[in-house]
Symmetry: C2
Subunit: 337 residues, 2 copies
């Protein structure tokens, strides 16, 4: 970082949302610092080799997308600092925000903060999971990756609403066959969805196996592709080999918001509460963007748009720091506030 | 169009929001038709030669961006029909939506509709305006184009909140000098903004000229760049020549929603009312995306994200067409609904 003086805005998280916010803020000539907890910015999208659903880019890898976003943000003057895990956030009486990193190793001062720490998909934690995710044969998002499995056979893992809903989605829209397993004898999804699953199973090739868990995700000999999955019947104990083209894991998400407890309002599931239009959080001067916020659509395009929206809020915040609860002024109605 | 049977979704408007919606819907294998009123899709962004604020793309022209978006949407099976101006929208008792085009020349049937007709910036209607817009010397959006005028002198035109606010924004963040003119002797912006304008004029080079109008925007000899602007003092009648590097016109917007009056709820300014999270309108089965909706952020990234969000809503709508008022089901809280 160029110096330790007051930043106009500190952005916590260097994924697509954070870097989009940095681009917008830096274009507005705000002194902008992005804090990335890992050694490289990017977040979850870095684990994706193939993005085909981002408007305006026919095909790109996650790594390449982040490279572009970094280039954009820094070309307008934003600074990006790696290995800076935010460990606490506090607001002084004068409105200055203290952003502590690495447990007190350093504290950055800012006039505004944009929270973009993201969420992580919960992993099963089985052998082969990470390698096959990198090879785009393990996914955690049907909306993102369903289209890659037309006329294929996939395994879905999980028992909640998302697991059941996205099994139906994959089976009815893309796949030749879907096998769904869950570790318990009953799904915990809403009954209406479970009914719909069994109804869909009458018309499409859906195999429901309960109670089953994944033992291992096994690559082929040269480790470039998925060969099969080992699943275990929890009651009987026996292990079966399942030949599938891909694995969708729907066992929940962990928003990376633990360090914010007590600072901004966070809901029971760990997502940051906000005004869905302005993305203001409960703490004056602090905005939120991306997968860590309540009601996020959890898509690349929406995360980037969140970053843009959060940065647009800076203008009215700097003008009127005491007016946090107000909507920004503007011709009625507040278009493009 | 391939045939006249029922479409899963008809998207009204072929700009960035509509094409992003088409990409998402077509990826989900919905039979998707985009209706574009003009001979070519694209909308307002087609008038922009230089986009540098779209996350993930360092630099692109509006035309090229639309080409990419068209390629994406059609590669997944979406169809795009040009010269199809929607003239009315109605919902039958059975929930099917009738989309009439060109005053009854044809009616398309759809299970769902995404409204993305956009908004047009109000033009002054003076000579040279359109040519210099194409040459990126006339702009209607400070957030979009302010960064192109670092250390330059620009003329701002208008007297409302946006005009005053964005004059301050341009003068304090980018420009060497800003001249603002308005046709009346007083601004109609909120007083707090007018006070702030005069305060900023004490610290930055801001020249306020009232009451003045633009007579003509004059190109250089080879028509490639702006030479000067002719402005007229409305009271005295004399015309002055003003040398500037660019012109920002802030005289309001016209959402293209006239054909929807009586169909969906539209506010006094003409914007389509919606739930800001799900983008549902007042008519079951009809979503909205982009600059035509209430509280739109009016940015390319947010318009595209709107398209993605509106298309994501199709899944729950098709499952439960009667449940329009409900949020989509999902693990609590409704992330990635």
């Amino acid at each position: 970082m160029s110096d330790d003086s007051l930043w106009d805005v500190v952005i916590i998280g260097g994924g697509p949302a954070g870097l989009a916010a940095a681009l917008s803020a830096a274009r507005d000539r705000y002194r902008t610092l992005v804090l990335e907890k890992n050694g490289l910015p990017g977040g979850q999208i870095m684990l994706t080799d193939r993005v085909e659903n981002y408007p305006g880019i026919v095909k790109i890898g996650g790594f390449e997308l982040i490279e572009e976003q970094k280039k954009q943000a820094t070309s307008f003057g934003a600074e990006i600092a790696a290995n800076q895990a935010c460990t606490s956030l506090a607001r002084r009486d004068d409105g200055i925000l203290d952003v502590e990193v690495n447990g007190g190793e350093k504290t950055h001062q800012a006039r505004a903060v944009i929270l973009a720490p993201g969420s992580d998909y919960r992993r099963l934690g089985v052998a082969g999971e990470d390698e096959m995710r990198q090879a785009t044969r393990v996914s955690y998002c049907a909306t993102c990756d369903g289209a890659f499995y037309r006329d294929k056979h996939v395994l879905c893992v999980g028992g909640g609403n998302t697991a059941v809903e996205d099994t139906i989605y994959l089976a009815t829209r893309f796949c030749k066959k879907v096998t769904i397993i869950h570790r318990r004898k009953e799904f915990r999804a809403q009954e209406v969805l479970v009914e719909e699953l069994y109804k869909a199973a009458g018309e499409h090739d859906i195999d429901v196996k309960l109670p089953y868990v994944v033992e291992e995700i096994v690559a082929n000999a040269d480790k470039t592709d998925l060969d099969h999955v080992l699943i275990k019947n929890v009651e009987a104990g026996q292990v079966e080999q399942l030949k599938v083209d891909g694995v969708f894991i729907f066992v929940g998400m962990n928003p990376n918001t633990g360090f914010l407890k007590g600072a901004v309002t966070i809901d029971d599931a760990g997502y940051i509460a906000c005004d869905p239009v302005t993305l203001k959080t409960s703490m004056p001067g602090v905005f939120v963007a991306g997968d860590c916020r309540q009601l996020a659509a959890m898509q690349l395009a929406t995360a980037c748009a969140d970053g843009v929206v959060a940065a647009m809020g800076l203008k009215s915040h700097y003008r009127d720091p005491a007016g946090w609860e107000k909507k920004a002024p503007g011709d009625s109605p507040a278009q493009g506030w």
